[in-house]
């Protein structure tokens, strides 16, 4: 019971800490905007630089690094284990967080070995090519709403280009190069195989990745992510806001699955395939491997961020929002902090969901991966696209689309409920079959 209370206290403390942290980020961005204005540059430059440091270098990297620890501890909890707890600081395991330092130290101090027959430039370039595009993806993900601080409008968002989602597609496409180059340049059979697998898998899934988001673009009539998040705050079915997951449940499933495949993690980890080929980074050691490894975790966080922004209402706290957003009740700075904390909470929840899925599915076979992509996800995305297009055309207020989405959600739940009853009946039928068989003899 003590642990139960303690866990909720920790969760509460983390949420409170996030609110305070994001308030600090807002203040920093506002201050940087002021400095930029004083220097005669557009205010946006200042806040963009501050956000680059706070959101990308601090927040994203910290969450991604903590995810390596979380992967150990959460996986352990899912498998009835305890997980990493041997490093103790003053006798406390601290939830395995000290492993972060140990890992970093190990990665940085390990001897770097190189295959003699590598192609040198590409070999050195590949970790950068794997890491940089994924890292840059986060620039367009809106973390917090636009808030007015002492006369300046500040948002927790690095860049707000109108291309929004297209930027995401472009950079997600670029990240194929890192893995493929790593496999090619290390001049090893296993590495090359991993690189080729990565290329074919990622290029296949990019199609359904793009297609699944077209429905969202149609529904919200924008590709700008901040506008998309703002559009999700509008009520559509009575008090229910027009969240992407309500309007586009099918699109959500397809996008989540495709981007999951893009992260190259289990069950889509064929490019790594620890048991057959060690993967495209088999020849990398030390921090070069660390970059590849970290890129994967960064990708997980960014996938969660994009899914949150596009489908889960981004920084909208969803509950009590009309009360929170009223400046008479909550000062704008606190509101911004709460919104950004809500965003990160959703991101963490999605990261956790990815870990759950990682542990509940075995690795796909390669033909299964391609079949899932081309025979299920792509047709699903296309059907979703046509239905969405028709619904938006018939009813631009999105009411019809929301009803269709609600019906889809109900249908999915219905099928799942039916599925959860199915094994019992099939086992019963099996027994009857045996009985009949025995009677026949």
């Amino acid at each position: 019971m003590k642990r139960f209370v303690g866990m909720w206290l920790v969760i509460g403390a983390v949420l409170l800490g996030l609110v305070l942290l994001f308030m600090g980020f807002y203040l920093l961005a506002g201050w940087a905007a002021g400095v930029a204005a004083w220097l005669g540059a557009p205010e946006f430059y200042g806040s963009a630089i501050a956000n680059t440091v706070t959101l990308m270098a601090v927040l994203l990297m910290t969450v991604a690094a903590l995810l390596t620890v979380a992967e150990r501890k959460w996986s352990a909890a899912m498998q009835d284990r305890i997980g990493a707890n041997r490093i103790k600081v003053f006798g406390m395991a601290l939830g395995g967080v000290p492993y972060l330092l140990a890992d970093a130290l190990k990665m940085l101090t390990k001897e770097a070995t190189y295959p003699a027959a590598r192609s040198r430039l590409l070999f050195e370039l590949a970790p950068v090519m794997a890491f940089a595009p994924t890292f840059a993806l986060f620039a367009v993900v809106p973390v917090g709403p636009e808030v007015e601080l002492s006369g300046r409008k500040v948002a927790l968002l690095v860049a707000n280009p109108d291309v929004g989602l297209l930027w995401i597609f472009a950079l997600a496409g670029l990240s194929v190069y890192g893995t493929t180059l790593a496999g090619w340049a290390s001049n090893s059979r296993a590495g090359l195989l991993g690189g080729v697998r990565a290329a074919s898998q990622m290029i296949s899934y990019e199609v359904s990745l793009g297609m699944s988001l077209v429905g969202v673009m149609l529904a919200y009539k924008t590709v700008n992510l901040q506008d998309m998040v703002i559009a999700q705050g509008a009520a559509v079915l009575g008090p229910v806001p027009a969240l992407g997951i309500l309007l586009q449940p099918l699109g959500f499933l397809v996008f989540f699955t495709s981007s999951f495949a893009e992260t190259k993690r289990a069950p889509f980890d064929l490019p790594e395939g620890e048991s057959e080929i060690v993967g495209y980074f088999v020849e990398y050691s030390g921090m070069k491997f660390g970059m590849m490894f970290l890129a994967e975790f960064v990708e997980v966080v960014i996938l969660a961020g994009v899914v949150t922004a596009v489908f889960l209402g981004g920084w909208h706290p969803v509950f009590f929002e009309s009360w929170l957003s009223n400046p008479a009740n909550v000062p704008p700075l606190l509101y911004g902090g709460i919104c950004a904390a809500a965003f990160l909470a959703k991101v963490i929840l999605l990261c956790w969901l990815q870990l759950v899925i990682r542990w509940l599915l075995p690795r796909f076979r390669f033909d299964q991966i391609q079949a899932l992509c081309w025979k299920m996800l792509l047709p699903g995305a296309l059907i979703n696209l046509f239905v969405t297009g028709a619904a938006v055309l018939l009813d631009p207020s999105l009411q019809l689309l929301a009803w269709i989405g609600a019906a889809e959600i109900v249908a999915i739940f219905g099928i799942t409920a039916a599925a959860s009853r199915a094994p019992a009946t099939s086992a019963g039928a099996h027994d009857q079959g045996h009985a009949a068989h025995a009677a026949g003899h």
């Binding site: 019971m1 003590k2 642990r3 139960f4 866990m7 959460w74 352990a76 909890a77 899912m78 498998q79 009835d80 284990r81 305890i82 707890n85 499933l253 969901l353 759950v356 899925i357 542990w359 509940l360 599915l361 899932l372 299920m376 999915i412 099928i415 799942t416 039916a418 599925a419 959860s420 199915a422």
Partner: protein, 235 residues
């Protein structure tokens, strides 16, 4: 011939992937919830753990230790008499029986006693020991036992694994009513003598599960509990 698996094609529900995956997500989430939010039962007897909340069965080893099964052959000990001397009479039976030849004994005569011998040196090399228990079986005096329930402590050098009589002589003393020093008289003071007589018991003619009477631990109880649990689970 290898057995045949029914090559059933997946039905529509299965080939949809997602319903089954949602179901599995529910299962994993429940496991996660139980293990992350409830503390684990740290009972070293893993089978008897309360798994109604957390299902973690880990035993964090150096801090917690599993109780070994009754027949567990642990680190040797030289059984002491009640007066602190070893029961061993340096007969070399254990050293002869030892297939690994890891026991080295040097006998000495007990001063003032024409018959009795005692080991001036009794050395076991635990690195050579194959933990077969033959020495325990061979001993006519019940002077060497493997009932400590411990294993040799890890050491940084091989010398640390060589146990001499000073390290081996430990544990609760054992006396039997046929012990010669009780029957023939001894140089011990009378009160100590009386104490040893009181502690003496007849030597067991039948083998019995001595450890099953240890409070809180019994292999039979464990097994019957596990069986009851399994039967309850089947219903």
């Amino acid at each position: 011939m290898p057995y045949q698996l029914d090559n059933q094609t997946a039905d529509v529900r299965e080939s949809l992937y997602f319903p089954e995956i949602f179901r599995a997500i529910g299962i994993v989430m429940r496991t996660f919830w139980r293990n992350a939010f409830f503390s684990r039962d740290a009972n070293p007897d893993v089978l008897a753990r309360d798994l109604s909340h957390s299902r973690v069965t880990t035993v964090t080893y150096p801090e917690e230790k599993v109780t070994y099964a009754p027949g567990y052959r642990g680190l040797h000990r030289l059984v002491p008499r009640a007066d602190g001397n070893p029961r061993c009479v340096a007969c070399y039976m254990c050293a002869t029986a030892c297939p690994a030849q890891c026991i080295y004994i040097e006998a000495g005569e007990v001063e003032g006693d024409p018959i009795e011998k005692w080991p001036t040196k009794f050395i076991i090399d635990e690195l050579r020991c194959v933990v077969c228990g033959f020495c325990v079986e061979a001993c006519p005096k019940d002077a060497i036992r493997m009932d400590t329930g411990e294993h040799p402590k890890p050491t940084y050098d091989r010398g640390g694994q060589i146990y001499d009589e000073k390290r081996l002589l430990r544990g609760p003393p054992v006396s039997y009513d046929y012990d010669p020093w009780l029957r023939r008289g001894s140089r011990l003071p009378q009160p100590a003598m009386k104490q040893m007589r009181d502690l003496a018991r007849p030597f067991a003619r039948e083998a019995k599960d001595e450890f099953s009477e240890t409070p809180g631990f019994s292999a039979r109880t464990l097994a019957s509990e596990a069986r009851a649990r399994a039967e309850a689970g089947n219903k």
